[in-house]
């Protein structure tokens, strides 16, 4: 082998999956190097904001990092409610039972605070193994020798080789794509999340959400408030901020040509939220991220040679109706990947780490949560267009409405059955039609009016911090025709039709008397979510280390 710098284990990405892998490697005394592209861990990360410790999980974040809940998280979530909305009518269900199913605890988190806390501990523990954690290093791809993966290449450092490589480089993983395990081809496989962090003093939160110091609330929203786009909204209480966001199926967002920031605003300004947001709305940060739909993309064999893929990079994000779990699975998978390598190595067959990791994901029940059998079995029927049409027409008919009224006493109980949530089909019905009908038939009108005025997209971009890599844009549009890339103008969370300050803009080019509709791209306002990698024809990479957007809250 060439005389490259070598570490036994290399972890790419210092989010919860990478941190868990690194800590577990360190527990086995394995020399571990962690490379993180952000200037600080967490500066590139966004999540809705709830992390779970599942009773059935072999590893949880506080097992691996003692003190996590006291120092790195925000609030325990003790109330969990879903609100079905139709016009100004609302019917709310208490889903605390579903939330507490298999749950040891669940806390709201803000990723900058959480990940930077993890960063310090990971560095300390991996440094003892002879490795350590470096920020500001962007891993660009795999290093191969004689066709085999042996290490990684980066923008900042000379190539590095390792005996095992854990790709925990997030939803837009460049390593998983380099290995051919993931792509950005199908909008059906992804959600797009958009989020606002809102300032709210501790005592105001206590008052408006009726929670004590060690209590917190989560509210979910679905129904007719999102222009028919499949998805929903959330509100989580942090220590002295709120996380409010929306998550939509990307294909639906594209089909409706909806503007993500407008859908977020539709929720923020809904009269139901007036009781919580009051008349003093102060938005601290606007952010966005792509979310994999694990039931479609979670890799059954998330490995290739020495490369083991964990967390969002492997599609391990469980978003099944009101069950939204990602970080906990990343933690479990990260730790299992490291454990798998340690076990394989002790049997003198380190090359079997990958298959062993996939085996552990199955035997520990992780894969069943990510890809529920119920969904797989019924998907052919429940997502069939003909069936969906019948269900939709029945549900909205006199008969369906009568049925909803008849079920009224049992709906809350049904919503709390985990097995039902895991079978929810990926159609209009559960996301839009059913909640709307429930609210129309059973709901009561909201009396408050909203006085929330969300910032404009221009103001939101203006409030973000960027270290722009001038003259070195990280995304290139390969085909700028409207047919190939026009969808990005609306779908990009920092672009909008008729907005000149965003990433993607519509342009009319006149040549020889004819007029062509094309898109142009300016990556300066980019929040690195990856939406355009899916909906437009681009060559997409992350910016170099330290460069691009820097989230202060995440």
């Amino acid at each position: 082998m060439s005389d490259y710098e070598h570490y036994e284990a290399l972890v790419v990405g210092a989010g919860p999956g990478g941190a868990a892998a690194a800590a577990t490697f360190a527990n086995y005394g394995i020399e571990t190097l962690v490379l993180e592209r952000g200037a600080e861990a967490g500066s590139k990360n966004v999540s809705g904001g709830l992390i779970y410790a599942e009773e059935s999980a072999p590893y949880t974040i506080d097992d691996l990092f003692p003190g996590f809940r006291e120092e790195a998280s925000e609030r325990p979530i003790t109330k969990y409610r879903i609100h079905n909305l139709a016009g100004d009518k609302v019917e709310s269900f208490d889903l605390t039972k579903l939330h507490e199913h298999d749950t040891e605890w669940s806390d709201s988190v803000l990723r900058r605070k959480m990940d930077s806390w993890l960063e310090d501990r990971v560095h300390e523990r991996t440094r003892e193994t002879g490795g350590g954690l470096l920020t500001g290093v962007h891993v660009t791809g795999l290093l191969r020798e004689e066709g085999k993966i042996v290490g990684v290449e980066t923008d900042e450092l000379d190539p590095i080789t390792a005996d095992v490589i854990v790709a925990a480089d997030g939803v837009n993983s460049e390593l998983a794509r380099d290995a051919g395990l993931m792509d950005w081809d199908e909008p059906e496989e992804w959600f797009q999340g958009v989020k606002a962090v809102v300032d709210m003093p501790n005592d105001v939160i206590a008052d408006r959400f009726d929670v004590g110091e060690d209590e917190g609330a989560a509210h979910l929203f679905s129904g007719d408030l999102f222009q028919g786009v499949r998805g929903g909204g959330f509100l989580y209480t942090n220590r002295d901020t709120l996380s409010l966001g929306t998550v939509f199926h990307l294909d639906s967002l594209v089909a409706e040509q909806a503007e993500p920031h407008e859908l977020l605003d539709a929720m923020l300004t809904h009269p139901l939220l007036a009781q919580w947001l009051g008349d003093d709305y102060t938005e601290l940060e606007y952010s966005a991220k792509l979310v994999p739909d694990s039931k479609k993309v979670a890799l059954r064999e998330p490995h290739f040679g020495r490369l083991l893929v964990v967390g969002d990079a492997a599609g391990q994000m469980q978003a099944q109706g009101p069950i939204i779990k990602g970080m906990n699975h990343a933690v479990t998978a990260g730790a299992l990947a490291a454990e798998a390598y340690a076990q394989a190595k002790s049997r003198n067959e380190p090359e079997k780490a990958g298959t062993r990791y996939a085996h552990l994901l199955r035997s520990e029940g992780v894969m069943q949560k990510l890809r529920p059998r119920g969904y797989e079995m019924f998907r052919g029927v429940t997502e069939d267009d003909g069936v969906t049409d019948i269900v939709e027409s029945v549900l909205t008919s006199f008969v369906g409405r009568a049925g909803i009224r008849a079920l009224s006493g049992q709906l809350e109980r049904l919503y709390n059955v985990p097995a039902l949530s895991s079978m929810i089909p990926d159609t209009q019905t559960p996301y839009v039609t059913l909640p709307t009908v429930i609210a129309e038939e059973l709901g009561t009108p909201v009396r408050e009016t909203s006085s929330v005025t969300p910032p404009s997209l221009e103001e939101r971009i203006g409030d973000l911090t960027y270290d722009t890599d001038i003259g070195n844009p990280h995304i290139t549009v390969l085909d700028n025709s409207w047919e190939a890339s026009g969808a990005a103008v609306a779908a990009c969370p920092v672009s909008a039709v008729d907005f000149g300050g965003g990433c993607y803009r519509e342009e009319l080019v006149r040549t020889n008397g004819s007029e062509e509709r094309v898109v142009s791209l300016d990556t300066q306002p980019c929040v690195e979510c990856g939406t355009c990698a899916v909906v437009a024809d681009t060559e997409w990479t992350h910016p170099r280390g330290d460069k691009g957007v820097e989230f202060k809250w995440g």
């Binding site: 710098e5 570490y7 190097l33 490379l35 560095h123 350590g132 450092l157 590095i160």
Partner: protein, 291 residues
């Protein structure tokens, strides 16, 4: 590898910090003293040497007792194992020559001769760029100036440096000298850490620096002229061949241009401005007006 970085305290010339009297003379008492900004590059070069080759970094300055804080700043901003302040009334009012004599004597007074001495490219107050090369004249080492990057071969005891010829970024030459050597860094110097191991060591050193900077005095050695064994006649004002006879302020350019104030609401006035501008750029004022 033992390196010494020479640094100097200078008035903080940044706006809001610096203070001048009515005659345009610098008010030293009202202006804070900071580490000479160019010395940052010398410190970075020493740190890069420390990271790649181990050993230790000493930072040295000649000046009044107040320069201790400058040494602290040097320690905080980069990294230093130990600090030396050469300070004595006899050294006051020294020109570059007397300063060079003093510093070279202090370097020779170290337990072991260092492998590399780093200096920054001229100070923000004197702007002569003499002191480093003159100190090296006393030490008689190979001298490389305007260095923008460097590599050291420990076994061969050589230093290979890229340097700007005539301070011009367009013209770069590579030179190789034997150690010990004297290196003057250019403000274009950029440290390079291309291996993870180097960056991890760098991180360790920065953490150690943060920890020890508040207790910098524990790492500080103060020497007077007797300690470094120099004759007072050769240092300070007595040892300075340069006499500054007077300092003249640079006269401000006279404001002789005529100005007419136009309020933005004054439509006719703005039209005149537009026409005046159009004639300068050769455009069509009428077309712009019609828009």
């Amino acid at each position: 590898m033992h390196t010494v970085v020479l640094t100097k305290g200078v008035p903080d010339f940044r706006e809001g910090q610096v203070s001048f009297d009515e005659d345009g003379h610098l008010e030293r008492g009202k202006t804070p003293t900071v580490m000479n900004p160019n010395d940052q590059f010398a410190l970075e070069a020493a740190l890069q040497t420390r990271v790649r080759h181990g050993g230790n970094v000493s930072v040295m300055s000649m000046g009044p007792p107040g320069y201790k804080e400058v040494l602290q700043e040097a320690m905080e901003s980069v990294y230093a194992d130990d600090l030396y302040l050469v300070s004595d009334r006899e050294m006051a009012a020294a020109d570059t020559w007397a300063t060079a004599i003093t510093l070279s004597a202090a370097i020779e007074n170290l337990d072991e001769m260092p492998d590399i001495i780093f200096a920054g490219f001229k100070t923000a107050d004197g702007e002569t760029g003499h002191t480093g090369p003159q100190a090296n004249w006393c030490l008689d080492m190979p001298l490389v100036t305007h260095v923008i990057s460097l590599d050291i071969d420990e076994e061969e005891r050589t230093l290979r440096a890229k340097r700007l010829v005539e301070g011009d970024i367009e013209e770069i030459e590579t030179v190789e000298v034997s150690l010990p050597a004297f290196v003057v860094t250019d403000p274009e110097f950029v440290p390079s850490y291309r291996s993870a191991g180097e960056r991890l060591t760098l991180k360790d050193l920065r953490a150690a620096t943060t920890e020890r900077a508040p207790d910098y005095e524990d790492y500080l050695t103060v020497w007077d002229h007797a300690d470094i064994n120099v004759d007072p006649d050769y240092i300070g004002l007595d040892g300075s061949p340069t006499i500054v006879s007077s300092v003249d302020p640079i006269p401000k350019a006279p404001a002789e241009r005529e100005a007419t104030m136009v309020e933005p609401e004054d439509v006719d006035g703005m039209q005149e401005v537009l026409e005046a501008m159009q004639s300068a750029v050769g455009g069509d004022a009428a077309a712009a007006e019609g828009d």
